[in-house]
């Protein structure tokens, strides 16, 4: 008899997708580093790099230096490539502290992924089967908390902040930047402020900025400065064009939104693409 598959969710962060049990929570500990917790107990840690080493041997050399600094020289290194078509796998073990770290090397995109399980019974084959490091299309999916979105791969992660009830993830591309945010509980945020004033605070737009669209659950703002203002802002090294959109996701009591700062007016197809991909997942 087949075992029923436990409910799962996919965590996506900076080019890596990993399917985990629904009770696990992903904690971002670095730009390419995730810690997974189950009931506040750490279960697994992932660290990865892309295109830094073209072969497993070179990846091994890089990793061994890093591991020696952190945990000391490993006592044994085993190649465990059995039945794994997706990743070449090395296991580093320490006898004294009885734990192992695995290096998964993807021969397609040359990603080296360090897997550190905190639970002894972890099956590395199971982990590698639910890991994906290279996508088929030109977009990257981001899903780390209870919301997700997709962005073209040309947008690079700049900074992030995960404070209680307010998450902000920022990206950069040439002269533009995008900040995506999620606020919860929306009812608490909207108790003292209207949705428009919240968006004004997020964008830093003044009362004079153009309000493109507005209703109780959705607001859209755009700052369209005059030529003189544009020049003045550029001299101050500020981006003159600011666009923001904030909406209420009633089912999950969340506010989702994004702001764009650019030296030229942001393109409508890009705005719609971000808006359509930015969605809340109900916990």
């Amino acid at each position: 008899m087949e075992r029923p598959t436990p409910p799962s969710k996919t965590i996506a962060w900076n080019g890596l997708e990993y399917t985990v049990p629904i009770t696990w929570e992903a904690v971002v500990t670095g730009k390419r580093q995730l810690l997974f917790e189950d009931d506040l107990e750490p279960v697994l840690e992932l660290k990865w790099n892309k295109r830094h080493a073209p072969t497993l041997e070179q990846a091994h050399d890089r990793v061994i230096k890093q591991l020696s600094r952190e945990f000391g020289q490993p006592d044994s290194i085993n190649n465990i490539n059995k039945n794994n078509k997706q990743y070449q796998t090395l296991q580093f073990s320490w006898r004294e502290s009885s734990f192992s770290v695995f290096l998964l090397f993807c021969p397609v995109c040359h990603a080296s992924i360090l897997v550190r399980p905190y639970v002894l019974s972890t099956d590395i084959q199971e982990i590698s089967a639910s890991l994906h490091c290279h996508g088929m299309d030109q977009t990257t999916r981001w899903a780390v908390q209870d919301f997700s979105f997709s962005l073209p791969t040309s947008w690079l992660l700049d900074s992030y902040s995960f404070s209680m009830g307010f998450t902000r993830i920022s990206f950069k591309q040439h002269n533009s930047s995008i900040h995506l945010c999620r606020m919860l509980p929306a009812s608490a945020h909207l108790q003292n402020d209207s949705i428009t004033s919240l968006l004004r605070k997020l964008t830093g737009c003044s009362e004079s900025s153009l309000q493109l669209n507005h209703c109780e659950e959705f607001v859209e703002l755009q700052n369209c400065p005059s030529i003189v203002s544009q020049l003045r802002l550029r001299m101050k090294r500020k981006k003159p064009f600011v666009y923001g959109r904030l909406w209420l996701h009633k089912a999950s009591d969340k506010l989702l939104g994004f702001t764009i700062e650019d030296i030229k007016p942001p393109s409508l197809p890009m705005i719609e693409q971000i808006y359509n991909s930015h969605e809340a997942t109900i916990r």
Binding site: E25, V27, E37, D39, L40, E41, P42, S68, E70, F71, G72, Q73, W94, E96, S97, F99, Y118, Q145, D146, F162, S163, M164, G165, L184, P185, A188, D253, R283
Partner: protein, 129 residues
């Protein structure tokens, strides 16, 4: 030969820390005000030198000055959850369910709050039996 250091297991340290029970310091008195806001009053520690100087000029025994601390809504909720029985993990879980936030978000907020209270000497963390 250079000695190699092995870092302690962060997972184990965290699990242990979450089992500790926060206990209110008895020197602090508190009252519940309007809208379930907590007001804490606690004595400020005086250096023995200052105390002896004050004692010299005062006939009555020197009483330490007190300071009042008004907590916000969230802080008041956490303060009321501290009962000397609940451990840190239980408080985090209860707090997360109150505000429908993830456990990690609640953990960050609650532990930062405990650090602040600890710095002022208002709570201590006790090892479970």
């Amino acid at each position: 030969m250079k000695r190699q250091s092995v870092k302690p297991d962060p997972g184990h340290a965290k699990s242990e820390a979450l089992q500790y029970i926060p206990v209110r310091n008895e020197i602090a008195s508190w009252q519940l005000k309007e809208n379930n806001i907590v007001l804490i009053e606690y004595p400020l520690p005086l250096k023995p030198l200052f105390k002896s100087i004050l004692q010299r000029f005062n006939k009555r025994p020197v009483v330490n000055p007190t300071k009042k601390l008004q907590l916000d809504t969230m802080g008041s909720q956490v303060w009321q959850l501290i009962d000397g029985k609940r451990d840190t993990k239980t408080i985090i879980k209860t707090f997360a369910s109150y505000h429908s936030v993830s456990l990690h978000e609640a953990e960050q907020s609650v532990t930062a709050f405990f650090r602040e209270l600890g710095k002022r000497g208002l709570i201590s963390l006790e090892k479970p039996l």
